[in-house]
């Protein structure tokens, strides 16, 4: 029953005034700047990590001296213009040792994250897809998880001699169960997703089903887990070196520097302090990236403060 408005009828009506532009248009920032604005924790974490990477790669050019050069006459100096972070009980320059030590921490952290992700992904996929293998694999994983990762890594290192490669393998084995569990859980959820069932009905073979529908959807939770593993691996490496079960003492690593300074801790705290600060910053940076990544990839878990 609509009829066109008669101009004589509308004459008496008050026309609502145009609303003023109270809210100016806010265009979301594009590009890197916008991304950093929206995800400050990733930006800060990535920035700190980038510094550590540059430091590790450019170690010989950052006014360092040979980190293993002994100089007994100049031992346990406190930080000064000549020795920025002081020297340890053998007179080695702690600044140079800390800068070179970044290499070990980053190599161990990222190698373990990548290796544990790959192996854990395969184990988790098999466990989630093959029903009869599941209970078997999961019992083994449960058994491994009942041992604290550090203890397991120490035990594994006790079986072999200390080297960077062995440390990486030992920590990887200790970290695999976490990835495998996560991937298995995700796979079990994905299998029940209607789009996976529709793909089965559409005649998709199992290998393709995994490749196309299941694997891509495990990457988001797995990459977040990988960052936590990376951070945890750096700490475990430092602990192993600290107790003398890790990297050989001849190679400067943050754990080794701390181990060397341990006995002098009460009189010369700077020996332990500098590697500890760098380790903390690096682990913090990796965790910041992980938290930010989790919020970006899974908005449901984002905690807005």
């Amino acid at each position: 029953m609509t009829k066109p408005l008669d101009p004589t009828e509308t004459a008496g009506l008050v026309v609502a005034p145009q609303l003023p532009d109270i809210l100016p248009d806010r265009k979301p920032l594009k590009g890197v700047v916008g991304f950093c604005r929206r995800n400050p924790s990733i930006a800060i974490g990535a920035f700190l990590l980038a510094i550590m990477f540059v430091m590790a790669i450019a170690a010989p050019y950052l006014w360092t001296v040979d980190p293993t050069a002994l100089a007994p006459s100049r031992r346990t100096r406190i930080p000064s213009a000549d020795y920025w972070f002081g020297t340890d009980m053998f007179g080695r320059d702690i600044y140079s040792r800390v800068v070179y030590g970044a290499r070990i921490s980053l190599i161990v952290g990222f190698s373990v994250a990548i290796l544990a992700s790959i192996v854990g992904l395969v184990i988790g996929l098999v466990s989630g897809m093959v029903r009869w293998a599941d209970s078997l694999i999961m019992r083994v994983i449960d058994g491994m998880m009942s041992i604290p990762p550090i203890l397991l890594a120490i035990a594994l290192m006790a079986l072999t001699r200390g080297s960077v490669g062995n440390v990486i393998i030992a920590i990887t084995i200790a970290e695999i169960p976490r990835v495998a569990r996560l991937v298995r859980g995700v796979v079990l959820t994905l299998r029940e997703q209607p789009y996976v069932e529709a793909a089965i009905a559409a005649g998709t073979r199992t290998p393709m089903l995994i490749l196309r529908h299941i694997l891509p959807n495990t990457f988001a939770p797995m990459s977040v887990q990988a960052t936590y593993i990376c951070a945890s691996a750096m700490i475990v490496e430092a602990i192993l070196s600290f107790i003398g079960a890790g990297i050989p003492p001849t190679i400067p690593s943050w754990g080794n520097i701390m181990a060397d300074g341990r006995t002098l801790w009460q009189v010369k705290p700077h020996i332990v302090m500098f590697p500890a600060i760098f380790l903390s910053i690096t682990v913090l940076a990796v965790n910041l990236v992980g938290d930010g990544l989790r919020d970006v990839l899974d908005p449901r878990m984002a905690k807005k403060i």
């Binding site: 209970s135 789009y195 069932e197 089965i200 009905a201 559409a202 005649g203 073979r205 196309r212 529908h213």
Partner: protein
Amino acid sequence: MNAPHRHSGPVLEVNDLKKHFAITGGFLSTVVGHVYAVDGVSFAIERGETLSLVGESGCGKSTVGKAILRLFTITDGQVVLNGERIDELSDAALRPLRQRIQVVFQDPFSSLNPRMRVRDILAEPITNFGLAKNKGEIDARLAKLMDKVGLPRDAVDRWPHEFSGGQRQRIGIARALAAEPDIIICDEAVSALDVSVKAQIVNLLCDLQQELGLALLFISHDLAIVEHMTHRVAVMYLGKIVEIGTRDAIFSAPMHPYTQALLSAVPVPDPEASRERILLTGDVPSPINPPKGCRFNTRCPHAFDRCRSEEPKLRMMAEKHEAACHLHDLPASENPVRREYKNNG
């Protein structure tokens, strides 16, 4: 295009289908019981026909659909597709036959892989079943599919999250059609959509059915929609079919007390209409431990001794109308559920 082995009988037959899920517990995962989700269901669907499977939540309707699709192995019974038993086939032998049965799911958001473009989602069944030889043929088919479900052709290059629920459901239907099936199982296909979109999708399904001669197994709890679009109705309760018949028979002269209660709960868009409401008391009994005798006896307003001991079989009530209820053995004067067929315009 593909050799359609046209077979004269029903496109799909289900004979005494059973699906019991084992409940495991304890240290060694020993079986401590079973969920009798589907416990002896039989029906047949003719070419171009819609059979609606209705019932409360948890009565096993969706399990029937998934059993036909062989998303799990069935416990017992037969699934016969175009005269050929498919429930015993190996996965590899079944794969080419999957082309004949497709599915549309309830939730339009989880039924499309968020990491695939519409093009890849729709091309999946086409390439799997070898319906196109090259990219050009695939593109031609995609365009045709998008036309059929009423979406713009260029939408194939978009991602699922760029569409609304109704549009996503159209993509889901297009994926089902892409395989050129004989039958589509619509598992609550419109339940998650709002009313106006629901009507569009139902009409789209009806149009496609007429155009392509599709059979539909329409699993739903929405009796208003079912009445609008179906040819026949099967009413399920606790894993069994209690009544099956043509739409007019079920809606005008239901013969099972459960069907009568279900129908009395459908809202009638007429404020003047007065009608008796049959209120069922209590909850659906657990399918882990279904009641003895007739499964409905715990909630049936007319249950008598025989219902608690003997399980009723489906029996012919009229032409193409079966119900499983002991009350029909009583003399007509004492039978509380006997209804006369109303003249259905």
